[in-house]
């Protein structure tokens, strides 16, 4: 049995590792990007000089041989599902019994004039990093288009090299489609505090050619011309599936898959950024290009690939698994402000969502807890500059815990390092002011309390 995995990102590699754990099948991972798996989210740290490329690789080179995972550096031009063969641009072919498509994303380009000039690039692939590096020496200014997570990363990257940055954000405030207003404004302030030229409500109209095919300026939708030697296009990503157009695979924006991550073709699976779920879980999107969902899909699909083929193995103990990513969580870091989210936090919350929002007077930390007005169960946590425990928040959310119970036990969620000032009392005070109640914290947040809480044992609460 030969399992071929297309793409060596977090989904493909997680799948390969789990197929190996579950079976003896031959595994080949194909990538045109790099020889070895690296953490895509860490690309920025290479440019900023925090790490070398090899430091972003979670496994040492001998890991692959030891685990009998073959790596092949090649670019796939065409998938022939009929004969179960991949055709490479070198003319070579590779036959598979089971195929996993984990090809990731590509940066969005919305047909801007000049978008294919030299010195214009997104930030997704390793090669994008090489482009940024190549254009950095002597660079007088970079313009970044698109106010999402990658945009602010790119701004921080150039900023770290003392290259002035102009950051064009179409929305009225940074990432305000996802972040509630207060958090979004906090990030606006932080971007400016760092000396980055943030232009809100400003879009890109066109990119100017210097006459040699290289970028020399951008023109904004307000008609302003900004001279620059580099343009970063960071207006989101979309599934990287162009080469599959004629394969007979059913696609929409991404590769369409069912809950078992099977595509429309037999023996072909898909996972990660390139996937579009036919039936996403309630409240979740069909395409979620996030590290964490990629990892969960990688693990799930490994079970399904092996379960699908395990008929000949006896006794087969491996069952198919539905992809169920559980309660939403995510994290990021906006220059120096860490961000964590658990559960349902909406930028424009419905009327039934009530927010408890506390912000530190210095404006770089905040805690938002959202609960349901009618049932008063907790719905979500949004943290800026404060760390909360994933397991604790997840348990409260899963069990639809009443917000007052959450608040009284909030110290259990605190994950900031020792000696840090804690803010549970301040958060509770906000709630007390809002509701006229008089709650008090019942916990100190010691690890022993946390473990007992997670294990579901009742702990005597300290008055």
């Amino acid at each position: 049995m030969h399992v071929v995995i297309l793409g060596n990102g977090i989904s493909g590699i997680t799948a390969a590792r789990f197929v190996r754990k579950l079976s003896d099948y031959q595994i080949t991972v194909v990538s045109s990007e790099t020889d070895h798996f690296f953490s895509r989210t860490a690309l920025m740290y290479i440019y900023m000089g925090h790490m070398r490329f090899q430091d972003t690789q979670p496994y040492e080179p001998q890991f692959w041989k030891k685990n009998r995972i073959d790596l092949k550096r090649a670019r796939v031009e065409r998938l022939d599902a009929g004969s179960k063969t991949l055709h490479f641009d070198s003319g070579e072919t590779l036959a598979y019994d089971k195929l996993l498509l984990a090809t990731g994303s590509k940066s969005n380009k919305f047909g801007w004039p000049g978008q294919d000039l030299k010195g214009v690039s997104g930030l997704y692939h390793y090669q994008d990093l090489e482009t940024m590096e190549a254009y950095s020496p002597g660079l007088k200014r970079a313009v970044i288009v698109g106010g999402g997570l990658i945009g602010i990363e790119m701004a921080e990257m150039f900023h770290s090299r003392h290259i002035p940055v102009t950051f064009l954000v179409r929305e009225t405030s940074y990432w305000d489609g996802i972040l509630p207003a207060e958090e979004s404004q906090m990030i606006n302030r932080h971007i400016r505090e760092n000396g980055i030229d943030l232009r809100l409500q400003t879009g890109l109209k066109e990119i100017e050619d210097d006459g040699t095919g290289r970028v020399c300026a951008v023109i904004t939708d307000k008609g302003e011309r900004i001279e620059c030697g580099y343009v970063g296009l960071t207006a989101g990503v979309s599934p990287n599936i162009d080469f599959l157009k004629d394969s007979g695979l059913e696609t929409n924006r991404g590769i369409l898959v069912n809950e078992y991550l099977q595509t429309s073709l037999p023996d072909v699976f898909a996972a990660g950024d390139c996937v579009e779920l036919r039936q996403p879980q309630p409240g979740r999107r069909a395409i979620e290009a996030v590290w964490y969902t990629g990892r969960m899909m990688g693990e799930t699909v490994a079970y399904n690939i092996v379960a699908d083929t395990a008929v000949n193995r006896q006794p087969s103990t491996i069952n198919r698994q539905r992809y169920n990513p559980g309660i939403w969580f995510n994290s990021a870091k906006f220059i120096d402000i860490e961000y964590q989210v658990y559960g349902d936090i909406q930028a424009r919350a419905p009327e039934s969502h009530v927010s408890i929002y506390w912000e530190h007077p210095e404006g770089r930390k905040s805690v938002r807890i959202v609960y349901d007005k009618n049932t008063s169960s907790v719905l979500g946590f949004n943290l800026m500059g404060v760390r909360y425990r994933h397991e604790v928040c997840n348990k409260w959310l899963r069990e639809k815990t009443p917000v007052e119970t959450v608040l009284q036990n909030l110290a259990l969620a605190n994950f900031d390092p020792e000696f840090f000032k804690t803010y549970e009392k301040e958060v509770i005070a906000v709630y007390n002011r809002q509701s006229g109640r008089n709650l008090a914290s019942k916990r100190q947040g010691r690890l022993d309390e946390v473990i007992q809480f997670l294990k579901g044992r009742a702990v005597e609460s300290r008055g």
């Binding site: 953490s39 989210t41 860490a42 740290y45 900023m48 000089g49 925090h50 790490m51 430091d55 972003t56 979670p58 040492e60 900023h159 770290s160 090299r161 003392h162 002035p164 940055v165 102009t166 400016r192 760092n194 000396g195 980055i196 030229d197 943030l198 232009r199 590290w291 990892r295 969960m296 693990e299 799930t300 698994q321 539905r322 992809y323 169920n324 990513p325 559980g326 969580f329 994290s331 990021a332 870091k333 220059i335 120096d336 860490e338 964590q340 760390r387 425990r389 994933h390 397991e391 997840n394 348990k395 994950f415 390092p417 020792e418 840090f420 010691r446 690890l447 022993d448 946390v450 473990i451």
Partner: protein, 529 residues
Amino acid sequence: MNAHNDTSLSIAQPHGLRLSAKVGLGLVGLGLLLITAAWFGAKLPAAPGLLAVSLILLAAGTVIHARGLYLHLPEGIKNNGVWLRSISSKGAVAWLIGIVLTGFYVLLYWFPQYLGLGSKDVPNSGLVAFFDPLSRLLNGNPASQWFVYGTLYTVAILAMGYKFILKYRHNRYQVVRTISVMFFQTGFAFLIPELLERLNSGKPYFDKDLKNMWPLNYDFFFDWHLGNLLKGGNFGLFMLIFGVAMIFLISPILTYFYGKRWYCSWVCGCGGLAETAGDPFRQLSDKSLNAWKIERWLIHSVLVFVTLMTVAVIYSYLAQNDGKLWIGKDAFAWGTAAFFLVAGGLVFAFRKRFEGLKDQTAWLVGGVSVIIGGILLINTFSDAKHILFINSFELRKVYGFLIGAAFSGVVGVGFYPLMGSRVWCRFGCPMAAILGLQQKFFSRFRITTNGGQCISCGNCSTYCEMGIDVRAYAQRGQNVVRASCVGCGICAAVCPRGVLKLENGSTDLSARTDETRTIRIGKEGVSLL
């Protein structure tokens, strides 16, 4: 809006260092120049004042440099350009500093006369003489090369500690911890011993650094030191009892509650220098599995070595003083043999009870202990001249040269810019080895990981000075319980997703190392926990 918003140039400085940061470096250079001039015998006016001036230049220069480096920037992690600069990425500057430091340690340990150390008939000259005034002020005697070293060491920890505090000023764990190492170095390692020396000046010399325990302080049980302790009056006796209590009582208790960090990154002088002056080099530690393998063999070999040497040395001392002390050499040999046999036997017998202890390791630990105990017994019966059939004098000479000087000093600090700041602590220090075994098998300390939030970026592993591949644990949601972890907390500080936390807890002592996987395949599909 656009014009006044464009403050890029005010913060993103195209030419790197601010003026004040450069001036600070200049002052440090001036201080070094004065010290070097004094070393080479320049006829400098008013030496006492000049020593003060040069030390102040070193400290104040570093302070001004650090302020210029960090204070104008928002609080947060400051690792930009670490791998792009020569000094912190094993470039030419790093080699230069490495060679100068290594050379200085070679002179310090083996050729102190070139630093200007005098003798009975010849007064100090050069660098050592330059420090005479301060030494006279503190302990009443002319300086030794060790006084020069101790002073510069303390200034380095204080000045670079200040820089570290500014760099991590957003992180109170780092600030408190650094104040602690600065305090213990200045008070316990430097000022108090020197002042006690002055108060105790009639008595023979013994080590007066309370925190300096065996086996890091390997000559604690040497005959001359034991003798001087016993001749040192009440204070000498106190130091002897406190020293033994530190080894068998105080340190195991503290390590049980807080892990070895209470010593290695909060108190210890070697750790103090590594955490402050060595901080710019922490990323240079080797993270490979091979390095980990070498580490385990090397550090535990040093531990066995220092233990054997100490047993032999005490035996010789007791043999020479037979009948004069409350314990004789035979009683000691019997006692030590029994200790090793029982300890080895216990480890082996209860190997299943220690979480994370592999059978192979239990065999090794039990086996080595039993062999040592057995040899001790045979030895006692055969009435040999030397215990363990080894000449203790030769043994301690070899240890002093190989481990005490070459490893801990020359390689340990000299190689900072090439192998990272914790080479000695990781590969050599027998104290770290003992505390590490306690931490691994009997401590409430661990680094917890935060659910599924790890993005495998590698910052934690890269900035681990002990070369632990923290990411390997974090990405599968497993607690980090490692013998070598000194609990500096930098992995938790540099993590961009808030995944790591240093914690102590006793609820799950037997399950600290369980693979608590956060993404789990179950009947309902993939779920979290």
